[in-house]
Amino acid sequence: MSRFRLAATPLDGAALRAELQDPGCGGFVCFEGWVRNHNDGQRVTGLEYEAYTLLAHSEGEKIIAEACTRFTLERALCVHRVGTLALSEIAVWVGAAAAHRDEAFRAARYIIDEIKHRLPIWKKEHYENGDSGWVNCERCAESHRHTGAGESAA
């Protein structure tokens, strides 16, 4: 199984953790990103993710490979959801297993940070007032309309 995957159905954390179990590992760190009910002062009711599937797979795999090299990791896995998600669902799951805890902590942190910055995946939030918006996109579109030149990167 590849170390980075996209999933269209709810994630089962226990099953993913079982994939990483390894008698050579003494430490396992897991990060779960959950769908939160508020963002930027707005009440969020749910969200959807849209991915560029082919590029997300290659970039996600690359991020895991980097983490394995940098942190002498034994095992790592990242699964990101696509499609429609309800509140409290797992949006992203990251697991890192290493001989010792320090490497596992640092690797998990590295993977989720890089995923957030580099993975070609987009999040649309739906709000209680009926609005919706693409996170990180709407503001740069807005500044473009007002100034005629986009300067403020997200």
Binding site: L54, I115, R145
Partner: protein, 284 residues
């Protein structure tokens, strides 16, 4: 009844910025004037060259039927006015002579879209949405308003079209109407066209598969499309699509992927490439 279509190549300009007669500039062994005339000939009933009175005996022009300006120094609108006046029964497909990338398909697109009950049929510029008056069809009914426009001391044919009853269309080949006004532009166009075999459409368009995601997908109204473009790189292509699809995100905030890998905006595009424009990401 639909008026017969005549062709007019405007070759009466003074080529001030070029410092030499633009009509006689050569591409792939053919002068611009000859090239424009040969593009028009199969598509219209008769072809004419528009000239100033003092060019009547110029050997490059004398081999063609001509229409001479009625008034001097009006610029292109004087040539259009003279043609509509000299042959009032005809509609005129008017062409500037300095369009080295113009291809037959673009003229066919214009003719197919002709709406004879309007004053004119014209393209809108790919770059700024303004009318393209020098690759357009003018109907006989345009004669009086154009004469009145000139009498009111107006000269700009683009402004004339902007306020007239015109059938508008979008260019399929975005470079077809790029014109050449300076010696430097001529050198560039010449170099590009020198590699094109004679008779082939100039500046061959590549087939490109474009993907849009998230906010760009919503703005474009589609998740993918296949199109033909002469854009050299992804940056040119994005600029072209901003106009075509009304995309509202500044390029500086996007990344581009070519054939499913992140790429530089300046990477040259090849026929069949898959190009994706990526808005700011938001994983996790």
């Amino acid at each position: 009844m639909t008026a017969p279509l005549y062709g007019l190549v405007l070759a009466g300009g003074r080529s001030r910025r070029m410092h030499r007669d633009k009509a006689t500039l050569e591409y792939a062994g053919q002068t611009q004037l000859a090239r424009a005339m040969s593009l028009l000939e199969p598509l219209v009933q008769m072809t004419f060259v528009s000239t100033r009175a003092d060019q009547a005996h110029d050997p490059q022009r004398a081999i063609y039927r001509s229409v001479t300006d009625r008034l001097s120094d009006l610029g292109p609108i004087g040539g259009i006015d003279a043609a509509l006046h000299a042959h009032p029964q005809a509609a005129w497909l008017v062409l500037a002579c300095d369009l080295p990338f113009l291809d037959a398909a673009t003229l066919q697109q214009l003719i197919a879209a002709r709406e004879p009950h309007r004053l004119a049929t014209a393209f809108r510029s790919q770059y700024d949405g303004k009318p393209e008056p020098l690759c357009a069809i003018y109907e006989p009914a345009a004669a009086a308003p154009i004469a009145a426009w000139i009498a009111a001391d107006q000269r700009c044919p683009r402004s004339f079209l902007a306020q007239a009853d015109v059938a508008w269309l979008d260019l399929r080949n975005p470079r077809a109407l790029d014109n050449v006004n300076t010696a430097e532009e001529y050198q560039q166009a010449h170099a590009q066209l020198a590699q094109t075999p004679a008779g082939e459409p100039a500046a061959a368009a590549r087939q490109l598969h474009v993907q849009y995601f998230a906010l760009l997908r919503e703005q474009a109204g589609r998740s993918a499309e296949t199109l033909h473009s002469t854009a050299r790189d992804a940056s040119d292509l994005y600029e072209e699509l901003c106009g075509l699809r009304n995309l509202q995100l500044p390029r500086q905030q996007l990344r581009v992927a070519i054939n499913d890998a992140f790429a530089d905006w300046s990477q040259a595009l090849a026929d069949g490439d898959r190009v994706a424009f990526l808005p700011p990401v938001a994983g996790g």
